[in-house]
Symmetry: C2
Subunit: 256 residues, 2 copies
Amino acid sequence: MTDNQVIKLSELKSHCQSCSLYDLCLPMGLKAGDLERLDNVIKRRQSINKNNFLFRIGEPLKSIYAIRSGSFKTYMTNPDGTEQIVGFSLPGELLGMDAISDDKHTCSAKALETSNVCEIPFDQLESLSREIPNLQHQLFRLMSKEIQQDQNLMLLLAQMPAETRLASFILGMSERLNKRGYAANEFNLSMSRGDIANLLGMAVETISRLLSHFQEDGLLRVERKHITILDLDSLRSLATHCSSSYSKSSGKTQVR
Amino acid sequence: MTDNQVIKLSELKSHCQSCSLYDLCLPMGLKAGDLERLDNVIKRRQSINKNNFLFRIGEPLKSIYAIRSGSFKTYMTNPDGTEQIVGFSLPGELLGMDAISDDKHTCSAKALETSNVCEIPFDQLESLSREIPNLQHQLFRLMSKEIQQDQNLMLLLAQMPAETRLASFILGMSERLNKRGYAANEFNLSMSRGDIANLLGMAVETISRLLSHFQEDGLLRVERKHITILDLDSLRSLATHCSSSYSKSSGKTQVR
DNA sequence: CGACATGTTGAAGCGGTTCAAGTAGGGTGG
DNA sequence: CCACCCTACTTGAACCGCTTCAACATGTCG
């Protein structure tokens, strides 16, 4: 190891070896030597400003991106120009894996806030992962995880009522943020109501109304983008939606 | 090559080297030698009867399965016991990749008809794909393809009206079956109306009604599970749904 | 041939959208 | 630093696409 070497903090922080996302991201489970090899392949750490693109739909696959900080939305565009968000991405997650199949991106990735990413040229990642079994396995795992996430969203979209979708979304964000060192019961959403609505297949108005209801019923405190979870259990039973008979008569959200 | 060798047809057919799905499935792009190595890893060719499981949700990941013939539905089960189908799988497609992330299956795979699969132990596939670059790449591609498919379905579920979903589903099946050597304009659906409805997030009744409408309007001929596409262009414009103003006043499906 | 699953068709009800109007932030330029 | 504007968000009311419920038809399989 090169512990005795003098390096600047900023530089230190930009290496996998010292990245706080180590156990969420691609390097998980790699030995020191392998970690360094991966680190050497990472082309550059770039900063992306809000509303700028990491990649656009149709562009050729060049690199896979690991998010260091910030967040992104990925969305497809359908023929009439409207967008469909297929996911929000947080630090430690990989972006661009949709493009491997056809060698070009099938969705666009836009920064929701100023963000930092690690760019990993895909061909180098591929050949390196042939030499490092754990890296290959981790890559498979992360792709598999994305399939799982997408399928969970499909379940929500196909058969859950609006409340369940939103409750589930909030819980999901809470858990993901918590894994990244944030408080589980209090956090900021980086995406707009419109983006949430789009992801969940609902109208913005419905999101707005439901957040108000959740607040009236003491499940959440909502201050613009800042969410505080007040009643985790009730939120969970809403998200589960075990065909619970559920009363809305009073205009209030009540779980039996 | 071993052309002059005498082998039984049944045996011949059960090897990758002579499989008609060669260019859809995992072996795509492999050289003869590598193909044989892959073939040697494939544990056994098993037959699965209708309604039997290839794997169940929660089971540990043992193998990935390549479909040789027949078809499957994969579905998740949510807390209240109802199922959510996340996809139908056809010959040449891989099943079980959802399980890599957590080492256990997150959905179940049930045969829609008597089917044959090739079982590939995942650990062997992983180590082999480290030695054969093209195999590794193909595996990445197939996983990426699944992500794409899931995201396309998410788009349908999140913002498309019922007609568009069904039209899109039928066109999708047509294309996929066509790639596998069937006629594009005439085919059998192996899944029930209920399964289609479940996948597309609709009620069975809606599927039934729409198929009737499509038939009345001369887009399709529908005889139980047998579908004949009569007006491909109209079906496509329904599937595209470019926010077309679309008249339903007469109870008939008409595209302007 | 009978029984049960699967599919079809009609009519009523509702969840969520759409339309409309108004409020509140947040950034910009004077 | 405040006035302004524009976008994001909220709230209300009418409407509608799809679901639900119900009844019936058709296949299929023991």
